[in-house]
C-alpha cells in the first residue's frame, strides 16, 4: 500500500511538474506581439508637418521585423531608427518572439490604431499578412517591406526594399561554393522557415545557377526555422543521410552560425565539407579566422534599415512614389531610384551588391 501511495504521489508530482513546464513553455510560445520603441524626434501620429526638404517632421514609422530577437533584424531596425532620427521622426519597433504571421498581425493593428505614417515589415509569410496590411494602406499608411517581401499583388501596393538583387544572391552563393569544391559533389541547402519568401526566391536562383555545374548535385534542402537548435538537428540529420556531402549553403545568419559551430567542433568533417552562405561578420569572425569557413557574404543590414527608413519617410511625405524612376535621397547612402515591378516582385529599391567576407576583411566589419 505504501509503495502504491509512493508511486501515486510521484505521478501526481510528475503531473504538477508537467503543468509547470507547460506554463513555462507558454512563456516561449505565446506569440503575443509587442515592441520596443525609440524616439528620434517629436512623438505623435499623423501630426507630421512638412520641412524645407519636403520630408515631413514628426513621422512615425513602424518597423515590424520577423521577430524581435533576430540579430540581423535588430541591426536593420537600428539603421531605420538612425534614418528617422536624422529626419526628425520616430521609429517604433514592434513584433512577436516567434517567426509567424500571427505574431506580426497585432503589430500591424497597433500601427493602424496609432495612426502611423508608414509600416516597414519583414514578412514571415508571403500572403497571410496582406489583409491586415491592406487595412493599413486603406487608412493612408504607406506600406514597405524589407528583408523578406510579401506577395500582396495590388492589395496593398507596396515598395520592397531589396537587400541585394535576388538573382545575384542566389547565383553568387553557388559560385562561391563551386570555386571551393572544384564544381563537383553532393551539396545541400540549410534554409530558415520553409515558408520564408526571401529564402525560397534565392533557392530558385541557386537551382538555376546549378545547371551551369553539371557535376554538383543538390541532394536536399533542410529547414532550421532560424532556430539554432532546430538548425543543428536538421544539419545532423543531413550529415548522417549524406555522408559524401561536399558542400552546404546556408542563406540565413542563424543557420550558417549553427553549422559553423558544429563543424568547428567536428574538425574531421572539414576535410571534405565546405560551408558558405549568408552570415554576420561579427558572428562568423572566429570561424573564418580559424579556417572553418573560408568565404561567406552579406550586405550591411544596418544600411538596409537606413535605406528603408528614408524610403518610408519619402513615401509618407509624398516626395517619392511607387512609379518606376521615382527618386529619393537616402542620407549618407546617396540617391536611389524605384525599379519597375518584375517577375513576381512589385516596385522595389535595391541596396547594392552583397559583400563577400573572408580572412582579409572579416574583422573590419562591426555588424
Amino acid at each position: 500500500m505504501k509503495r502504491i501511495n509512493g508511486s501515486r504521489t510521484l505521478r501526481r508530482q510528475a503531473a504538477m511538474v508537467f503543468a509547470a513546464v507547460l506554463a513555462g513553455s507558454v512563456i516561449a510560445a505565446c506569440s503575443s506581439s509587442g515592441s520596443s520603441s525609440s524616439a528620434g524626434g517629436a512623438a505623435g501620429g499623423s501630426t507630421a508637418s512638412p520641412s524645407s526638404t519636403g520630408i515631413k517632421k514628426g513621422l512615425v514609422v513602424y518597423f515590424i521585423p520577423k521577430d524581435t530577437q533576430n540579430p540581423y533584424e535588430v541591426l536593420a531596425d537600428k539603421g531605420g531608427e538612425k534614418a528617422l532620427s536624422e529626419l526628425g521622426g520616430k521609429v517604433v519597433v514592434s513584433s512577436g518572439t516567434v517567426d509567424t504571421a500571427a505574431a506580426q498581425i497585432p503589430s500591424i493593428q497597433a500601427a493602424i490604431q496609432a495612426h502611423a505614417n508608414a509600416i516597414v515589415i519583414a514578412g514571415n509569410d508571403a500572403k497571410a499578412l496582406c489583409p491586415s496590411l491592406n487595412q493599413a494602406a486603406q487608412q493612408g499608411i504607406k506600406v514597405l517591406s524589407f528583408d523578406s517581401d510579401v506577395a500582396c499583388g495590388s492589395a496593398p501596393n507596396h515598395l520592397f526594399i531589396n537587400q541585394a538583387d535576388t538573382k545575384t544572391i542566389g547565383t553568387s552563393e553557388v559560385d562561391i561554393l563551386a570555386k571551393q569544391i572544384n564544381s563537383t559533389g553532393q551539396i545541400a541547402i540549410l534554409s530558415a522557415a520553409a515558408s520564408a519568401t526571401n529564402q525560397n526566391s534565392w533557392i530558385v536562383y541557386m537551382k538555376q545557377q546549378l545547371q551551369k555545374y553539371p557535376n554538383m548535385k543538390l541532394v536536399k534542402i533542410v529547414y532550421g526555422n532560424d532556430d539554432p537548435a532546430t538548425s543543428l538537428t536538421v544539419l545532423q540529420g543531413l550529415l548522417s543521410a549524406y555522408p559524401n556531402l561536399r558542400g552546404i549553403i546556408s542563406p540565413t545568419t542563424v543557420g550558417i552560425q549553427a553549422a559553423a559551430q558544429y563543424l568547428n567542433t567536428h574538425k574531421s568533417l572539414l576535410n571534405k565539407l565546405v560551408l558558405t552562405g549568408l552570415g554576420l561578420p561579427s558572428q562568423m569572425k572566429p570561424y573564418v579566422l580559424d579556417g572553418t569557413v573560408k568565404e561567406f557574404e552579406l550586405w550591411n543590414p544596418s544600411n538596409l534599415g537606413y535605406l528603408a527608413g528614408y524610403a518610408a519617410a519619402a513615401l509618407a511625405s509624398g516626395t517619392a512614389t511607387l512609379s518606376p524612376g521615382s527618386a529619393f535621397t537616402a542620407g549618407s547612402l546617396g540617391s536611389y531610384k524605384v525599379l519597375a515591378a518584375a517577375a513576381g516582385t512589385g516596385p522595389s529599391v535595391v541596396l547594392g551588391p552583397p559583400t563577400v567576407f573572408d580572412k582579409s576583411n572579416v574583422a573590419s566589419f562591426n555588424f
Partner: protein
C-alpha cells in the same frame, strides 16, 4: 450556473477518502464565496481598466474586432480542449490539426477544387485525425499526452507534404472567394465582433449547455473524477472520450478553415505552436489538469483576459518578452493557487491524478 450542475471537486472527492472529516465534506465558506470565475471576473475588469488607462486607443471599438481576429480561432480550439481536460485527458495535436486541415483546403483549392467540397474534405480530415487520437487513447489505452504529441508531429508533417514551402493561393491560382475572406477584414454587420468571435460565442453556449446541463456533461465530470466509479455507474467512459477527440478534430479543422479565410491564404505552418496557448487559456480558465473540474464560463473569461491583455500590451509597445512574462505569470498563478488548497489532500492515502499520466491498467 455551474455550482449546482457541476459539483465542486471537493464534494465529489469526499467519499473517496477513508474518513472524511466534517469540515472537508462541506467546503469552507470562503471557497463557496470565492469561486474561480469570480477571480477571473476581477482579473478581467483589472485588465480592461489597465488597458483603457494605459493605452489611448484601447477603448476604440476596432480593438474588439482586432482582438477577435487575433484570438477567435484559438478560442474555438479551447472549447473541445476544455471538455477533453474535464474527462482527465489532453489533446496537444490541436494546432497541428488546424494546420493540416488548412493545408488540405489549400492543396485542393490549388488543384482546382470548388470551395465547398474542399471545405467538407478539410472537415473530414478533422474527423479522421480526431478519430485516430481517440482510437489510440481509448482502444489501445495509451496515455493521451504521448499519443497527441505524436499526432502533433504527424499532422504537421502531413501539412508540410501537402503544401511544401508554398503559400496558397499562388499568383497563378484563383484567389479564395471574397465572401469567405471578408471574415478577416470586416466585422459581422452591425457589430464590432469578428466572425470568429461570433462563432466562438455560439459554440461556447452549446458546449456550456452540454457540459453543465446534460447527463452527458455530468458523465464527463464523473469520468474525470473517478473513471472506474464512472464505468461501474454505467457511463461509457471510452466512448465519451473517443467522440470528444473526434469533436476536437472537427473543431480544430473548422478553426483551420476560418484562419485560412481570415488570412486569405494558407501555408503549412499556420497556427504553429498554438497548442500551448490553447492549453494555457483552458488552465487559466480554471479547468483542472487532473480532470473533473472546470467550467465553460471560466474558459470564456480566460479568453477575454488573454485577448484584452494582449491588445493592451501591444498597443502600449511593451516588449513581447515582458508580455509573455505577464501571461506566463498569470498562468503559473492559475496552476498554483488551486493546488494550494489540495496540498492537504495530497498527503492523504488517495488522491486525484490525471488520466493522461497513467498506464492502461489504471485507465478507462
Amino acid at each position: 450556473m455551474s455550482s449546482e450542475i457541476a459539483p465542486p471537486a471537493a464534494d465529489m472527492q469526499a467519499p473517496e477518502r477513508g474518513q472524511p472529516s466534517a469540515a472537508a465534506s462541506r467546503p469552507p465558506w470562503w471557497q463557496m464565496a470565492v469561486r474561480w470565475e469570480t477571480g477571473l471576473v476581477v482579473v478581467l475588469i483589472a485588465a480592461l481598466l489597465f488597458g483603457s488607462s494605459e493605452s489611448a486607443t484601447f477603448t476604440s471599438p476596432i480593438t474588439l474586432f482586432y482582438a477577435g481576429i487575433n484570438i477567435g480561432y484559438i478560442a474555438i480550439m479551447a472549447l473541445p480542449m476544455t471538455l477533453i481536460m474535464v474527462t482527465g485527458e489532453i489533446d496537444l495535436s490541436v494546432a497541428s490539426m488546424l494546420g493540416m486541415s488548412g493545408a488540405l483546403l489549400g492543396n485542393l483549392w490549388h488543384h482546382g477544387w470548388p470551395i465547398w467540397p474542399a471545405i467538407l474534405l478539410a472537415l473530414a480530415a478533422g474527423v479522421l485525425g480526431g478519430g485516430l487520437n481517440g482510437l489510440l487513447v481509448t482502444r489501445l489505452g495509451l496515455p493521451s499526452i504521448a499519443v497527441t504529441i505524436g499526432t502533433l508531429t504527424l499532422f504537421r508533417g502531413v501539412a508540410e507534404i501537402l503544401l511544401g514551402s508554398q503559400t496558397i493561393p499562388l499568383a497563378s491560382d484563383r484567389p479564395f472567394p471574397a465572401w469567405l475572406t471578408k471574415i478577416g477584414v470586416v466585422p459581422v454587420s452591425g457589430t464590432e465582433l469578428s466572425y470568429t468571435t461570433v462563432i466562438f460565442i455560439v459554440l461556447a453556449i452549446a458546449c456550456g449547455i452540454v457540459l453543465h446541463a446534460t447527463p452527458l456533461g455530468r458523465a464527463m465530470f464523473a469520468t474525470g473524477l473517478q473513471p472506474e466509479a464512472a464505468r461501474f455507474a454505467g457511463i461509457r467512459v471510452a466512448r465519451i472520450k473517443f467522440w470528444l477527440y473526434v469533436f476536437s478534430g472537427i473543431m480544430c479543422a473548422f478553426a483551420g478553415i476560418l484562419l485560412t479565410a481570415q488570412n486569405s491564404s494558407v501555408s503549412y505552418n499556420a497556427g504553429f505552436g498554438l497548442e500551448l496557448n490553447v492549453v494555457a487559456i483552458v488552465l487559466l480558465g480554471g479547468v483542472s489538469i487532473f480532470g473533473g473540474r472546470g467550467t465553460i464560463p471560466g474558459v470564456v473569461l480566460s479568453v477575454a483576459i488573454v485577448g484584452s491583455l494582449q491588445m493592451a500590451l501591444t498597443q502600449m509597445n511593451i516588449d513581447p518578452n515582458v508580455q509573455q512574462i505577464v501571461i506566463g505569470g498569470l498562468l503559473l498563478i492559475s496552476v498554483v493557487i488551486p493546488s494550494l488548497g489540495r496540498v492537504a489532500r495530497w498527503l492523504g492515502p488517495s488522491g486525484h491524478k490525471p488520466q493522461w499520466a497513467l498506464p492502461k491498467r489504471h485507465r478507462q
